[in-house]
């Protein structure tokens, strides 16, 4: 009863000094908002990066590029000598390579009855869904027979669907890919933009043989991805792949590679570096802001205690115990810190949403950020409240009334 009365009165008193309460809230607001923003965006960015990295290099894999070539699109490298036979030989010699998928493609016009679009057309094997970890959301994939017979079938991305068909059903429709008539048999799983900002839904996937013979008339491939069964053997397998390719391409010692080889180990090292920034450096900055906020709140609270010495003395004179005084000041900081913290959460989440939209990070709502933010608010209150409250409680009533 007594405590309830005291708490209620303390809250009422706080509403009467709105300016002071407001400034104290600002301290935890800034810190918590910064922390929430950094944690939300950090997690979103991390998720995005891991997804992207997984889609490119998979769990444990090796990527091969013909010299000067890119992952997809772009001009063919002059010295491109990577062939399907190279890959078949590698797979045969190295049992650690459990699956592989070649890629050859170009930017090409894609047309339907009434509309056209310029899309990235990529030839791949029947194993691409497994190797690249992407499938179809509707329809079906092409099989080994389709690859063997250079079948005129295509899988198209959502952007292509929108450009060519609008709201009509594209499955089973005929489209012109370059000058080759293909039947749409599947819709690619939505992907969004990739690490380079390219729209990966503006793609058409056809059998590799269809791309090489019918579309481009080439006998080399641009890219290949090899899945390695044992993550521990990536480095060793990478060396072996290089050796086999150099042998098959007849490269003398000292001559540079005519291909580029990248393993998921390198990607993981890069991921580690980015994660250090996301989860160490940025939260550190936020932590400093939080400490700054605490310091502001604490100094305001201390000056509030100094300013209210007379009030404290009077309260002691009419019967307040030291712990009552302490409770009052702790409550004031707790309420302002948590109030500011909740506002800070809103501000931080809002800012995170804005940043996420700018950077296309997808949904960045994070319970971690909420909990961390609230914990930070509580910490601010504790840091800012305990010392002033103790000082207030220790004041001697006779001194405080002077």
């Amino acid at each position: 009863m007594r405590t309830a009365r005291l708490l209620k009165q303390s809250l009422r008193m706080m509403t009467r000094s709105k300016l002071r309460s407001g400034f104290m809230m600002l301290g935890s607001l800034v810190g918590v908002a910064a922390l929430t923003l950094v944690v939300s965006v950090g997690q979103g960015a991390n998720r995005k990066m891991l997804t992207t990295v997984r889609q490119i290099v998979g769990g444990s894999s090796i990527l091969l590029f013909s010299r000067g070539g890119r992952l997809v699109g772009g001009p063919r490298g002059e010295a491109s000598r990577l062939t399907l036979d190279d890959l078949a030989a590698i797979a045969k010699e190295l049992p650690a390579v459990e699956a592989w998928d070649p890629q050859q493609g170009l930017m090409a016009p894609v047309r339907s009855a009434g509309a056209s679009d310029t899309a990235r057309v990529i030839g791949q094997s029947e194993r691409w869904d497994r190797v690249w970890d992407r499938g179809v959301s509707r329809g079906e994939l092409f099989d080994a027979a389709a690859v063997a017979s250079s079948a005129r079938v295509a899988l198209i991305g959502e952007t292509v669907v929108r450009e060519l068909f609008g709201h009509e059903d594209p499955l089973g429709a005929e489209i012109l890919v370059g000058s080759v008539r293909c039947r749409v048999i599947g819709i690619l799983e939505p992907f969004g933009t990739d690490a380079h900002g390219m729209d990966r839904d503006d793609e058409v996937v056809v059998p590799i043989s269809t791309a090489m013979r019918r579309l481009m008339n080439v006998d080399t491939i641009q890219t290949a991805k090899l899945l390695v069964s044992d993550p521990a053997r990536i480095a060793e397998t990478t060396r072996e792949v290089r050796r086999i390719l150099r042998e098959r391409h007849g490269l003398a010692p000292g001559q540079p590679d005519d291909f580029v080889i990248r393993s998921s180990l390198q990607a993981q090292a890069m991921v580690g570096k980015v994660q250090r920034v996301l989860f160490l450096f940025l939260p550190l900055v936020a932590g400093v802001l939080l400490l700054g906020g605490s310091a502001v709140a604490a100094s305001l609270m201390l000056s509030s205690v100094n300013e209210r010495v007379g009030e404290i003395g009077l309260r002691r004179a009419v019967g307040a115990r030291p712990e009552d005084i302490q409770l009052q000041f702790l409550l004031e900081t707790a309420v302002t810190a948590l109030g500011g913290g909740v506002l800070g959460l809103l501000v931080g989440c809002g800012a995170a949403q804005m940043v996420a939209r700018k950077l296309a990070l997808g949904d960045v709502f994070s319970w971690n950020a909420i909990f961390l933010g609230l914990a930070a608010a509580a910490a601010t209150g504790l840091l800012a409240g305990v010392v002033p409250a103790r000082r207030a409680a220790r004041l001697q009533p006779a001194d405080a009334l002077r």
Binding site: M1, R2, R12, S17, A317, V318, G319, E323, P397, L401
Partner: protein
């Protein structure tokens, strides 16, 4: 009710000599008395009030309240005694700003163990003639009204002892007279009052006058 035996109080401040504020003060105050403690500034009368009001502990001597030595009591017990047994009226009123008269009066009730405090504050304000000023803030009240709010606050827990430290020091003569009239009424109703003042004319209203000079009692006399 109150018995002080050879009370001494010495303040030591770093960097300066010790100040002897009270020196061997012995004083007895019985229930229902109206006592004035008179002295010039620096005579130790405020220190004596702090000791009497359990706001400060004496350096030496014994203070018996109802026969009990207050030196044996802990901080919380002293707070409880101040809350239940003693009411304070200060020269500077010490009202909480931006807070209604009623809430100011209710402050001691907050710290009491009462289950319900409803209506007590209003009744105390009525007793000092401020029934129509309940929701006014201190800044909206005159000095005399503010001091009446402070008196209502001192009385709200029905204490035995009322300690007033220069209660009229900030008021004009007419208002001071009103405040003294309230004290007289309270005295007639049987309360124990201790008035601390430098003003001999004010002290003349009391039953008994104790003169304090440089921390010592120099004269006691019964008023006529």
């Amino acid at each position: 009710m109150i018995e002080l035996r050879e009370i001494g109080k010495t303040y030591t401040r770093p960097g300066s000599d010790a100040v002897r504020a009270l020196d061997g003060v012995s004083l007895q105050i019985d229930r229902g008395e109206f006592v004035a403690i008179v002295g010039a500034s620096g005579s130790g009368k405020s220190t004596l009030m702090n000791v009497l009001g359990l706001l400060d502990r004496p350096s030496e001597g014994r203070y018996l309240l109802d026969g009990r030595d207050v030196a044996d009591l802990g901080v919380n017990e002293l707070a409880g005694l101040r809350n239940q047994r003693i009411g304070f009226v200060f020269q500077a009123f010490h009202l909480l700003p931006r807070t209604s008269a009623l809430e100011n009066v209710e402050l001691p009730l907050l710290y009491s163990d009462r289950a319900s405090i409803k209506g007590l504050g209003r009744r105390a304000l009525e007793a000092v003639g401020l029934a129509d000023r309940i929701e006014h803030r201190p800044s909206e009240l005159s000095g005399g009204q503010q001091q009446r709010v402070a008196i209502a606050r001192a009385l709200v827990n029905e204490p035995d002892l009322l300690l007033a430290d220069e209660p009229t020091g900030n008021l004009d003569a007419r208002t001071a007279g009103e405040i003294m009239a309230i004290f007289k009424t309270l005295h007639q109703a049987g309360r124990t009052l201790v008035l601390i003042t430098h003003d001999a004319a004010l002290a003349a209203h009391c039953d008994r006058i104790v003169h304090l000079d440089q921390g010592r009692i120099t004269a006691r006399k019964e008023a006529s």
